[in-house]
Symmetry: C2
Subunit: 253 residues, 2 copies
């Protein structure tokens, strides 16, 4: 994992100072600030651009339970594992259509995409795949608590969802509450998961080295989310250079 | 690894047919066709854009000997290893300044960059890091000969170098033969390496499954190269959205 910013070295931060630093990273770097998301919330995306977003983001949704299983596999603590496995249950559900992944496929289908094509990932942007796999690499290669810290973008997702869902319902006539069923449970799940992870990170990261590691994990995670939107913008907004082999929306064909 | 195109299933191709298919992939998908490279060869890049290219591509140069070491580590055959290790020697040299990586740093320095900053990779685009690491993941996770096949972009690099070097010398007054010293030995090394790899792939990939695997490896490698130029274009050409924390050239600040 690369360190994209220089962090001050020296004395360890207090847990409250560390939390403030992590929250500052999120406030400054979370993908809610990306031009593609701003366009989405402003009602400026074409349906084809919205399809490209849903199709590509499925690749991200699809690796979430895998990266959570890797995190689970690194823990020696049944209490931790009992709590963390809730994330896998949320994404995979208790039967076919109840999990977050199935709800994301439903969102994609509601936007007019073929769910088999979405699920195959074969029309996703290569840059999406590379960014998403960087998340798997991070939790694979870093210590357990650094992987846990990379999940802390969930501290900021309720704000994003709170902005996005009403904006999408208002500004796109083909989007309904049913389309966006994925997001509603996330408003409860994300804060529950983020509070648990934040407590652990505050307790574990008591040295400058560990604090650097968890802050950098959150920065890398923000980069992973940001890079996915950069790739969408490049391919589908401006200049609109779709890489060879990737999804071509009808309305920009 | 994702399969971005559907390949015909059924009977195995002959070695010559397989080679033709691999060469077709390269002809269609090699990054020589990317708008960023076309701009470079046409003399249309600013010095800052050229710096961004050199700084980011260093990340790619830097993982080459690592991915070759992973490939080496998967072979049981001293003859193969003796041949493949030449690649590591070429990139790392026999002393400090003689290898390809050192020559790339020299290129970056000649363009006005601080080599310590370049070598640290900390100002590289996150998308560059993700794409480059996808190459490491590919050779790590796939069988030896699939990793070997991913190197076959070298079949096409002499053409790219043959176009690029004269174009750069002619169209950018701050670029000299000394700046581009990296490329000259590549004109001998790449064909030697590519011929060796192609012979092995032709001999190994005798079933439809293996043939799919080697063709997809080359496609993924082309995607990895293409995605790096997509990210440069997005950040530094149009719309010029530099992701948070990445290199900002003087001439576009």
């Amino acid at each position: 994992m690369q360190s994209p910013v220089e962090l001050p070295t020296g004395a360890a931060l207090t847990p409250d100072q560390l939390e403030e630093k992590l929250r500052t990273v999120g406030i400054e770097r979370y993908h809610i600030h990306h031009p593609f998301h701003k366009m989405m919330n402003a009602g400026e995306l074409t349906k084809g651009q919205m399809q490209a977003w849903a199709l590509n983001r499925f690749c991200y949704q699809a690796i979430i339970p895998k990266k959570d299983a890797i995190i689970l596999s690194k823990s020696e603590d049944p209490e931790f594992r009992r709590e963390w496995r809730k994330r896998i249950v949320d994404h995979d559900g208790t039967e076919g259509s109840t999990g977050g992944m199935a709800k994301w496929l439903h969102l994609a289908e509601s936007l007019g995409l073929d769910t088999d094509v979405v699920a195959s990932k074969k029309l996703a942007l290569p840059a999406t795949r590379f960014a998403v796999n960087a998340y798997v690499d991070l939790v694979t290669n870093e210590p357990l608590m650094v992987g846990v810290a990379s999940s802390l973008t969930e501290l900021f997702s309720p704000v994003a969802i709170g902005e996005r869902v009403p904006a999408m319902l208002k500004r796109y006539d083909y989007i309904t509450e049913d389309t966006l069923a994925y997001f509603k449970p996330r408003l409860q799940q994300a804060p529950r998961d983020a509070d648990f992870a934040l407590d652990l990170v505050r307790t574990w990261a008591t040295t400058p080295e560990r604090q650097d590691a968890v802050v950098n994990a959150l920065l890398t995670k923000c980069d992973i989310l940001w890079a996915q939107l950069d790739a969408l913008y490049h391919a589908y907004v401006a200049p609109g250079h779709v890489p060879p082999g990737a999804f071509v929306p009808d309305d920009s064909a």
